[in-house]
Point group: C2
Chain length 386, copies 2
Amino acid sequence: MKTRPTITGVHCTRFGELWEKSLYDLVRDAAEGALTDANIEIGQIDAIFYGNMLSGILDNNVHASGKISELLGVHVPVYRTEAACASGGMAFQMAYTYLQAFPGKTVLVLGAEKMTDFGGPQVTQALSAAASGEEQVAGLTFPGLYGMLAQTYLAKYGYTEEHLAHVAVKNHYHGTFNARAQFRKAITVEQVLKSPYVATPLKVLDSSPISDGACGLVLTNDAARISGRPGVAVLASEIATDTISLKGRKRLDGLDATVAAGDNAFATSGLDRSDISVAELHDCFTIAELLAMEDLGFWMKGEAGRHMADGITKLGSGGPLTVNTSGGLKASGHPVGATGIKQIGELYLQLTAQAGERQVADAKYGLAHNVGGSGGTAVVTILATI
Amino acid sequence: MKTRPTITGVHCTRFGELWEKSLYDLVRDAAEGALTDANIEIGQIDAIFYGNMLSGILDNNVHASGKISELLGVHVPVYRTEAACASGGMAFQMAYTYLQAFPGKTVLVLGAEKMTDFGGPQVTQALSAAASGEEQVAGLTFPGLYGMLAQTYLAKYGYTEEHLAHVAVKNHYHGTFNARAQFRKAITVEQVLKSPYVATPLKVLDSSPISDGACGLVLTNDAARISGRPGVAVLASEIATDTISLKGRKRLDGLDATVAAGDNAFATSGLDRSDISVAELHDCFTIAELLAMEDLGFWMKGEAGRHMADGITKLGSGGPLTVNTSGGLKASGHPVGATGIKQIGELYLQLTAQAGERQVADAKYGLAHNVGGSGGTAVVTILATI
């Protein structure tokens, strides 16, 4: 039997407006931190997987494999992948695939994005590169696309903007416990509802911010590196895709790529939904977390608004599943290439009981869900305490 | 024992100024052509690997996974990778890794680039994104970087610009036999030497062109799909990296990433250099093919200028190794994301005796060599007739 890939170390930089750091400063910090946490030298790394979306568009900066070779002094393969805001999740899934192919190897997985050096309109336009050309030409930014998903969901299931607001309130509350989160300030439903509209029904406080940040982790199937370290096993990591344009979808009250990736991941892992006690879901906008809870099969279709208002995924609620203890994209920030790695890093902390004030008691199994664009790509990863 | 990944179908679009086709028109043409050639339906494909460098910078167009899902009507994983001009080779190597991990699978590998819709200065600047920030700020375009490599090589080994010119003459001659090549016109040493300088000692006719084009191939380890089809086995595919900047290198008379990837590929394949009778090498500039012949161990250090002048890698020369029968990047064109796939596609034609007028007799083993930037990434793949 193959050795199961295991995470043995994680590091994220602080997320936020990090004007004193360049993109590759952040990549270096994440890499060195992850190696230190895993108690391993860079010379013991067999390959590097790197997720980044925007550096080509924003900074005329591609060919990350050569750049990271120079930065870290390595000559091993360095794979850059890009799947919009799922770039980090895809990099992780590629690393997992690599370790399925080659026994006895140890790899470094990195994700990073530098966004706040550029003006808001420039970043918004760059992010729209993840949408179809037709959607871009129509002026559909990502708040607009998720606004349409939210309109559909609220109308179909009889919910209000207040049901969305609870996601932001919960994730900001969680963010207060995360020293690396971009926002560490609790907010109220009233504050969310009074914040300005970005794309009806979504408001500023329904939206994840523009962020800088990087994360790294060490993944290995080398038994010698696993023993004696805090480790988390990867039970499954699955990718599914869907039409990039909303107009091509069968429905607008959920993301079928999430459904497919989730179903495949649960099938591969052999777990039931009820086994998962901690999850990091892709809440780029509040509506996205509601849809994800249903698409992943944690809640029945149309129930998410009600359950979210009941607060049963909040730390300390006593519910069976706590969601986005990191603060989610909403409060911890969303440096897009880093997000998928940060999610898995947060689960690593939870599943090795290193999450401090935001620890979910007795967490054994965790799920990470990373989305590209408005659902053209979804990555679902299931992790277990070892 | 694992099934050895096998190529069972290939298709390249014509390379050139294809103003009537969009990037994704080209991707569709390559995908459909490869599927047809492999006698397989899109629904039988388990994953797609896609190499593209510039669409983010030139066309505000990323998230190819969602775009290709929509284009081809698939929901399987679609991996976009980017390693500058080695994006195609890296996509192929990732597909090879995937098939090592998962038995019984069949994947589609695609590479594409759309460059000629944009102005020359815009494309030159976009291509410079593959260099380090310092090199970009210094005004070092890729002709400039390869010009420095050429200066070093000619001075160190006592060669002249005429020795470089023979590469272009040979590859243009080969291009006359390739109906899909951008340039199908033979040229003379005198014409090369009289063409204008781009970056001394490199001239226009030492340089590969700006091109549109796409290639696709089907790679499988499903025994049922392999039997009864013309197939080519992948014996090895290896990636190595090096500092992105020339200033960080130990030497400038070769590319150490090529040496490492080549040595690893030969070790994995179990072949000797003398087993290879056909090779597609990364001749973005004439100097690059000379360096590659030495770095890959086909010729001793410093011998390439002399052997090239002797013409022993030209079709019909009777030499043991024929190089760049496609016309190379120089004559067949260099749509950067497509190049690495085109190289392997050309070897597929050679090793299945489908190369027509440019067929190398009794070709059993072939080698493809794809470089990113000025050598920050190198991919070497070794193929065998089955």
